[in-house]
Amino acid sequence: MNWQQQFNAFSTIVRKEIRRFMRIWVQTLIPPAITIALYFVIFGELIGRRIGQIGDYSYMEYIVPGLIMMSVITNSYSNVVSSFFSTKFQRSIEEMLVSPMPNYVVIGGFVLGGVARGIAVGAIVTLLSLFFAHLSVENIWITMSMVVLTAILFSLGGFINAVYAGSFDDISIVPTFVLTPLTYLGGVFYSIKMLPDFWQGVSQVNPIVYMVNGFRYGILGISDISIGFAYGMVITFIVLLYGWAHWLLKYGVGIRS
């Protein structure tokens, strides 16, 4: 396949993925918006008033970037894991396996589909947050690049999860037992500098800490960690997960007999 043909194949997968989550928008776009709105009301408005300031920002302003990032993470992940597992379950993955598409086109197409949903939900949540907090963006490039990189990373995670999954139960194990705890402990609701030294050290191995802080830096201009280090960690994780996903597809793990 030449580059033009590969691009056509890639855009076909992306269009199909976007068509899929838009077709079921009541399941894919509305529930996360409602959930995050509840976080704004309960944690930001009701409890946040009693917590007071974190640095120069109200508690509501402090948690908004983390909550936006949380919605991007969970939606990019769940889009790819459910879509790719569904293609396995219905055997429509065979449509792709018999085609001449290179593996990176398949991975790229699904990942961009996940990024599209992550950003769509992130945009809805951002609009909602305007009802609760004043939002000014310190650095649009850092903000946008951190959202996109995070969505890529978790889309890849969803892809790997879907490849290994043998049943619908398997696609909820990682989000429930890994993703949710990491997100809640990733500095969405607090600054990791508020933690004792030991737990600050433990937080350093949580990749979500770097994404939440990188994004918060883009919006508020404050971060618990160096922004350069945050970029380095996110890109490193992307490279590792892409290599893993590519290897799985190349050898047909969980896909071919």
Partner: protein, 310 residues
């Protein structure tokens, strides 16, 4: 000069497949399909037909061996090899929630076809397979026969030179089966090489010019259909008699079996004229009201060949 039939469409060499549980599905099979051919790949259930097709179409990993499609090795030149092949699998394998038109158009995209051309080809093949009116329907709403035709349209949308159909008429009514035969014959006449697996041996005999029989993971026969059928030296006919008889009549040089009082089976050499049988029965005052082959010719050979190997 190179003619269509001198070009090799598919070359399978020493293909082996051992599944993770240790089951040896293919024991080093080799066969060749010439361009423009219409080949039947036959075998009993579990013989290795679907595994062979699965490996050719990259749905199953091979254990050993090589495959080339129109000269392109599927390991070394994966994309070029895959561009030449279209596959219609045995099981329905499309997204049940997608629209018929979207399924075919998306498949075109997977082959790198731009959206404008994909739309034109989708219309062409859905019309050819009588599904254009269903293009906006979700695929799960189609009947079994329509789903089979949808898979054929999908396999053709990138206009492959080699089409592999794994039991395409399974569970399809006779009228639709015959219209599919006509479609496949025309497709073959237009130059598409076709490999067909089927359990309907009448279908293979009607459509195919060459044959390969696989059993227990080994190719036990490969030849032209004509050469294969010529191996059949005896045929059995069923005669419906115009009156009831009590004993099997003596017919010299013919093996006769009285099935019931008004049905007689006679097994004769292919070279022997049938006139002699009728003359003898007429002499015995036994009228024959109708006659038919006991079994399809290919079926007889297939069964005898497979049973001989066991």
């Amino acid at each position: 000069m190179t003619t269509a039939h001198s070009v090799t469409a598919l070359l399978v060499k020493d293909l082996k497949k051992t599944y993770s549980g240790g089951f040896e599905a293919l024991k080093g099979i080799s066969f060749e399909v010439k361009s423009g051919d219409f080949m039947a790949l036959l075998g009993p259930n579990g013989a290795g037909k679907s595994t062979t097709i699965g490996i050719i179409s990259s749905l199953v990993n091979k254990s050993a061996g090589t495959i080339s499609i129109y000269g392109e090795d599927i390991d070394r030149n994966f994309a070029a090899a895959k561009m030449n092949i279209g596959v219609v699998p045995q099981e329905f394998n499309f997204n049940q929630f997608e629209k018929v038109g979207d399924i075919v158009r998306t498949q075109a995209g997977y082959y790198g076809i731009d959206s404008k051309t994909a739309a034109v080809r989708t219309e062409k093949y859905l019309k050819l397979l009588d599904l254009w009116d269903k293009r906006e329907e979700r695929s799960r709403m189609l009947s079994g026969g329509m789903k089979r035709r949808l898979m054929i349209a999908r396999a053709l949308v990138h206009e492959p030179r080699l089409l592999i159909l794994d039991e395409p008429t399974a569970g399809v009514d006779i009228e639709l089966r015959r219209s599919m035969w006509t479609f496949l014959k025309e497709l073959n006449q237009q130059g598409t090489t076709i490999i067909l697996t089927t359990h309907y041996l009448e279908e293979a005999e009607q459509l195919c010019r060459s044959i390969a029989i696989i059993d227990h993971g080994e190719i036990i026969e490969q030849s032209s259909m004509k050469a294969f059928l010529s191996k059949l030296d005896r045929e059995t006919f069923v005669l419906d008699l115009g009156k009831d008889i009590e004993a099997t009549p003596e017919l010299e040089g013919v093996t006769a079996v009285l099935v019931d009082s008004h049905t007689l089976e006679v097994e004769v050499s292919k070279q022997a004229p049938l006139n002699a049988i009728f003359e003898k029965l007429t002499a015995l005052d036994i009228p024959v009201t109708s006659m038919r082959n006991k079994a399809n010719r290919l079926e007889e050979l297939f069964v005898s060949l497979v049973e001989r190997k066991r």
